[in-house]
Symmetry: C2
Subunit: 436 residues, 2 copies
């Protein structure tokens, strides 16, 4: 069928305009939105009229309680920086263009608006542009993951084989468990996460195996048609950035969704990259850093998540690897928790206590984790252990000798010997004892 342009309601036009006028994370703009509403703020900015004393007063109060400095509180300052792009407003055309790309814009009033973004308060995005592949946006919007169904996976652009393997295995297990992996579409860890999510979703779709897969199928059923992965971009969704990831990002759009708070045509500036990280942190119920250098955008995403009160999981690595230095830094300097696998990550999502044992065999993921080598002394109390230690491996020895060697009273020795014999630990040969 031919794509329908997203219905250009006044509400959407207004938010689309504001998303072009206001830089991401502009706290004063967010407070103005809360105080005045989108329509009034839009009118004030675009009309060019001077802000009234009462408007300035109301905003200044909100800004002061939000901790903004005297100059940052000034509505006139805000208008001065929001107005310069007024001559670039063409929201109806933007919406039509994005509609042709199978996308559109979401506003907080839309049912599809991700509720976790509310945690950002006044620094929540003005609007959320999305791109879902060459099909009507109504269909692609259905792919938005349900609540508590997202995990952000981030890390460095320079990634090692270890980082790729960690990211891929973690992502595969999370997607199999029905979760959606949120990342930034960048090189390195981001790309590894998106790729693994897409691959796993295709495997599940094409899978028909019974039995052992039932749990997985139930997840995927309950999760049918949901995006296995979301890529949150720092620029407009009319372009793919970085160019080297174009084919990957097209695939993310086709199977999942691309998201951005920037209007089409907006360039991904450094400031927008840093602000983009707060969206990734807010969209994920938990953020996991799989491999990060000492200085990395993943650090900023992790700190955003912690500021939002979200749990942060971090995968450790070799202390000799510069590519894990940022992970170890987070584990030392923040409340981030060490994560070994998807079970650990899910434990953070659900707030469950750490598993007492890893859910996956670290060496052979297909095998259960061994409880460690079984010891013959397992299950023995201390006296029995002392006595078992004293029993000769070869040959035999008399209870009196055992009493001295084990440091146990003779009656105790005689009592415990019969117990050890019953439990198959000791053998009795005419009153002389040895190990069974």
């Amino acid at each position: 069928m031919t794509p329908e342009p997203l219905q250009a309601t006044p509400q959407r036009i207004i938010r689309a305009d504001l998303s072009r006028l206001i830089e991401p994370g502009d706290l004063l703009a967010g407070l103005a939105l809360e105080r005045f509403g989108a329509e009034a703020l839009h009118a004030l900015i675009t009309s060019g009229r001077t802000a009234s004393a009462s408007e300035r007063q109301r905003l200044a109060e909100a800004a002061e309680s939000a901790g903004l400095g005297p100059r940052q509180r000034d509505l006139r300052e805000g208008l001065a920086r929001w107005r310069p792009r007024c001559d670039q407003l063409h929201a109806a055309a933007d919406l039509a263009a994005m509609g042709r790309l199978g996308g559109g814009v979401l506003t907080p009033e839309d049912p599809g608006w991700p509720q976790q973004l509310k945690d950002l308060g006044p620094s929540a995005p003005v609007a959320l542009w999305f791109r879902g592949g060459e099909e009507p946006e109504e269909v692609s919007l259905n792919r938005l993951p349900g609540p508590n169904r997202t995990v952000a996976i981030v890390g460095s652009r320079e990634v090692t084989d270890y980082g790729i393997r960690v990211t891929a295995e973690l992502t595969e297990d999370l997607v199999r468990a029905g979760l959606c992996v949120v990342s930034g579409g960048a090189y390195g860890v981001d790309a590894a996460a998106h790729r693994a999510a897409l691959r796993t979703a295709l495997e599940q779709a094409s899978r028909s195996a019974p039995g052992s897969e039932s749990a997985v199928r139930s997840c995927s059923a309950e999760n049918a048609g949901k995006a296995p992965t979301l890529a949150v971009m720092a620029g407009g969704l009319d372009r793919f950035y970085p160019a080297g990831n174009e084919s990957l990002l097209r695939e993310v759009a086709a199977q999942g969704l691309l998201l951005s708070e920037m209007a089409p045509g907006s360039a991904p500036t450094r400031h927008r990259f840093l602000q983009r990280n707060r969206l990734i942190a807010a969209l994920g119920m938990v953020t996991v850093v799989t491999e990060a250098r000492w200085r990395s955008g993943a650090q900023s995403t992790a700190h955003h998540a912690l500021t939002l009160g979200r749990e942060v999981g971090v995968v450790p690595g070799s202390i000799f690897s510069a590519s894990s230095a940022g992970c170890h830094r987070l584990l030392r300097e923040t409340p981030a928790q060490l994560v070994r696998d998807a079970a650990d990550a899910l434990g953070l999502v659900t707030g469950a206590v750490p598993a007492r044992a890893p859910s996956r065999n670290p060496v052979h993921p297909e095998l259960p984790i061994p409880a460690g080598p079984k010891q013959p002394q397992d299950g023995l109390d201390e006296a029995q252990r002392l006595l078992f230690d004293a029993l000769p491996r070869r040959g035999l020895s008399a209870p009196g000798k055992l009493s001295a060697v084990a440091g146990l009273p003779l009656p105790k020795v005689l009592a415990e010997l019969t117990r050890l014999q019953r439990s198959g630990h000791a053998r009795d040969v005419n009153g002389q004892w040895g190990r069974a």
Copy 2:
């Protein structure tokens, strides 16, 4: 000179006897020592007389407040298990034999007694046998490290190349800093720690380099003649265990010290190995686990250290390595702290806050850690960053355009452009601006 047997004072004879009669970690015995004193307890055990009601009462009270169960509180039970070895007492001969091996026995009354052991309370060792190589014990005793000069390094017997490298580099830096590394003389991590400590001490002794080594030399001077490493054994010091480590343990005895709470001739039973771990934890001001499997003696040593209120450091590794599974378990399930290098470990000893940056370049230990790639935007405030991002890399653009692209008011743009020009970020060509 010919070795002098350690002076066989009554006090030493009594403690030496008790160290043969009483199994390590016997809480009731420790409480009896506190209540009655070593001499009276020795007399009571060896005399064979029945314990008086008042003796039983006094001990039962202490045992009850220590949380022992009704039967465990009974002095008669204790005597029954302490007496069976009375016919094996030959402390004078033991002392003479150990003296010939350059060793002897320490009692809590000796000035050389490690004060950290007091933290063990009633489960402190009855006595501490030592062996310091083929020389008079007075000399080898001088090697005992000063207070706050010990770090315990432990891990699994099965060790990977990673575990060996981690253990060796950590030990080298700690010994260079004048610390004594305490371990258990076992295969794997223990052996790697002892070897690295001995090697580093020899390098320092033979070193005469000036300048950069001054810090090291001052440390080693203040630390002259001190043991670079201590091996705490689970059996008597007349034998070397495990046999495969004999030459290493001989070298530890020659340059450092072997320690054990077991009298000569005592076998290293499993119970004694587990109890030995509490001595390692108590002797180290901090315990560092460098590589440990899911099930490992290092786990028990770490838990002993935490119980004693000591800090525990843990080196992370690959989540795919079964040899690091125990380390990650400790980091998840205990207050143990992640340790990357000697600076981190020393931070735990001194209780210093974690360093904000690793003291050693993870990749090239000889180089300082880089602060990360220097960014042209470093040191710019947010408005300046927005403007710098908006400046074209090639070509020029007008302030009005920059105001729109950056989302900044025109006056602000003009003001910041001149600032950026001064700081060498922007260039002005007849009123058109670009990046410098």
